[in-house]
């Protein structure tokens, strides 16, 4: 050890950087946990609602990242699975009197089946063609939800009204605080499962299919099954997120599931970092807050600038991609190495 300290070889520098990044990671985790647990007791109701929404988006982004970031299948239609999850929850709760907490796993399972079945024919499509097929899904979903024939179930364009659940077991929490914690627990579980999944044997197979499908198949990986399963799992995540979204918002209507939502998900995983588990948190923060701030910013320019929020959002996005082409996760991944290289340079002189 002392020898390594005296002679900073490339190897020891890398090891130090790795140890440093691991320590940083643990520190970041700690700070994040304190922040996430303490937030409900300092933030106001509306802000808390926004952060619950961030957690919900993060779950959906996590699913999309498994599909797109890790498995390399582009989906422009994940808003559709989010909508199916949301409506499954709302219909189960209003028409079948299922307790709201029980609707979450059921919605996830329904979406898993839907995603798996959609994934099977989509197997024949690659790259941009798959993007178009999923795009069609995103375009069709709000229209289908509006369709009169389904009015009895979906409530048509009026949507469905849900009550806001209160904290159980007489916990001394407001409704907003309780819902935030519900989202936090669900998100923690989903993150844990996703991290397990991508780290293990199945995760390697998923990445192998992205990196070199022919070689992956030669290694004995059943590509069709894995791709369809990725679609299913990814839809399951979107479905759980959709169900939580309905619970937190307390209302559901077709307007909430437009094309912009699906595109936002894609923006979220790219901003957060493709093929990254923790990056999606930053992606979720981005898609929750940046459009709002773009709105507020454009208000500063007065009445004449009503069209500007989109432009500001766009400029921010371009700037971000320019500064962080590998997303927030990419920057975090390379930052410790960059810093250590920066600090170790003078020694070499």
């Amino acid at each position: 050890m002392t020898l390594a300290n005296d002679t900073p070889t490339a190897l020891s520098a890398a090891a130090i950087a790795q140890a440093g990044s691991r320590r940083l990671q643990r520190l970041a985790m700690g700070v994040f946990c304190i922040f996430a647990l303490g937030l409900p007791f300092v933030a106001s109701g509306y802000h808390l609602f926004q952060f619950a929404q961030v957690l919900i988006y993060a779950i959906a982004l996590l699913g999309l990242n498994i599909l797109t970031g890790y498995n390399g299948q582009i989906s422009l239609g994940h808003g559709a699975f989010y909508a199916i999850g949301g409506y499954a929850m709302a219909i189960l709760a209003t028409k079948f009197d299922v307790p709201y907490w029980a609707t979450i796993p059921v919605s996830g399972l329904i979406c898993f089946v839907a995603g798996f079945l959609f994934g099977l024919p989509a197997l024949r499509l690659g790259g941009l063609y798959l993007a178009l097929a999923t795009f069609a899904l995103a375009v069709a979903t709000p229209q289908l939800l509006n369709y009169r024939g389904f009015d009895a179930w979906t409530g048509g364009s009026q949507g469905l009204q849900l009550g806001k659940p209160h904290a159980p077991f007489a916990l001394p929490l407001t409704s907003d605080q309780w819902l935030y914690f519900l989202c936090l627990v669900c998100a923690a579980l989903m993150f844990w499962a996703a991290a397990n999944l991508v780290r293990g044997r199945i995760g390697r197979a998923i990445i192998a299919i992205r990196d070199h499908p022919i070689a992956a198949e030669t290694m004995g990986i059943n590509i069709s099954f894995y791709k369809a399963m990725c679609f299913g799992v990814s839809a399951l995540y979107a479905g759980v997120a959709g169900a939580l979204g309905s619970i937190v918002v307390g209302f559901i209507s077709p307007d909430s599931f437009g094309l912009f939502l699906s595109l936002s998900f894609l923006v979220g995983i790219v901003v957060g970092g493709l093929a990254s588990i923790w990056g999606v948190l930053f992606g979720a923060l981005f898609i929750e807050f940046v459009p709002n701030y773009a709105d507020q910013l454009s208000d500063l320019f007065g009445e004449s600038a009503k069209a500007l929020p989109g432009a500001i959002y766009g400029i921010l996005l371009i700037g971000l991609m320019y500064l962080m082409p590998t997303g927030v996760a990419g920057v975090i991944r390379t930052a410790p190495g960059l810093l250590s290289r920066l600090f170790s340079r003078p020694k070499r002189v």
Binding site: A193, A194, N196, L197, G200, R201, I202, G203, R204, A205, I207, A208, D211, H212, I214, A215, A216, E217, T218, M219, G220, I221, N222, I223, M229, V233
Partner: protein, 313 residues
Amino acid sequence: MLAKRLQGIILMPAPRSAKSNGGGGNDHAAGAPSRAIRMPRRRKADCFGDMSATPRTGAAPLLVVEGVSVRFGGIVALDSISFAVAGGQICGLIGPNGAGKTTLFNCLSRLYRADRGAITFEGRPLLSASKHEIAQCGIARTFQNLALFRTMTVLENVMIGAHCRARGGFFADALALPLTRREEQRIRERAMALIDEFALGAVAGTPAGELPFGTQKRVELARALASEPRLLLLDEPAGGLNHEEVDSLRGEIQAIRDRRGITVLLVEHHMNLVMRVSDQVVALNFGRKIADGPPGEVQQNPDVIRAYLGDAA
């Protein structure tokens, strides 16, 4: 004259000595450490009892290719190819560019569909299996142009090789059940052993795409062996390697056969290597088999000489 000299250059090395050629099939088996060779040996014993006195040609064929034809549009890439490879042999597959060697390989690993014919591996018909079942059957391969998973580390690449030898599904992995943890541990240990064997320890944590060409080739070999194959298909393993690397490759190929008892089918342009390691050489030209036999015989075969040198010979 010229033709004779060229023949000397191309088909340079002397055939393997009669001694190593004749009894080799069981010599290596007898001398091998017990752990590697178990599988094929038991099978042989099942079929034939004590094989020590039987000449090699009588050994049970591990792989039988019968009348395999592949057509791409109007081009006949393979025209009714038949040959057999006995267990424990190293079989070289040679032929000029475009002779159909890689096409045949791709039929064996089911990447291409054979239009006609049959391929039998250990008595099992191979052409009715799916692509992803080939590894499970006990056939592994390397690729002519590297096919590593570039963003994954060397360790992960080798671990992927063992994918077909481990259990566990999406939900078991997501929930980190004890089963998956045990399997993961087992695969990791085996991969690490292979990494040590191929002297890749220093780069185990490096993404495969960042490594030099020769090293990547070794990673591919380790990855192929991780699936515990009984037949290993090597597609131009010496391509792009320098002189020393080819020498060490020769040792590695022989070690794979001798120590693990794995049968090797080898496509190679490097004649020196093919003629020195192979027990049997199959020569193709324009999709047809033109010669099949011990290396010494094949390199004297007039059709083979003509295929490489043209009619001038």
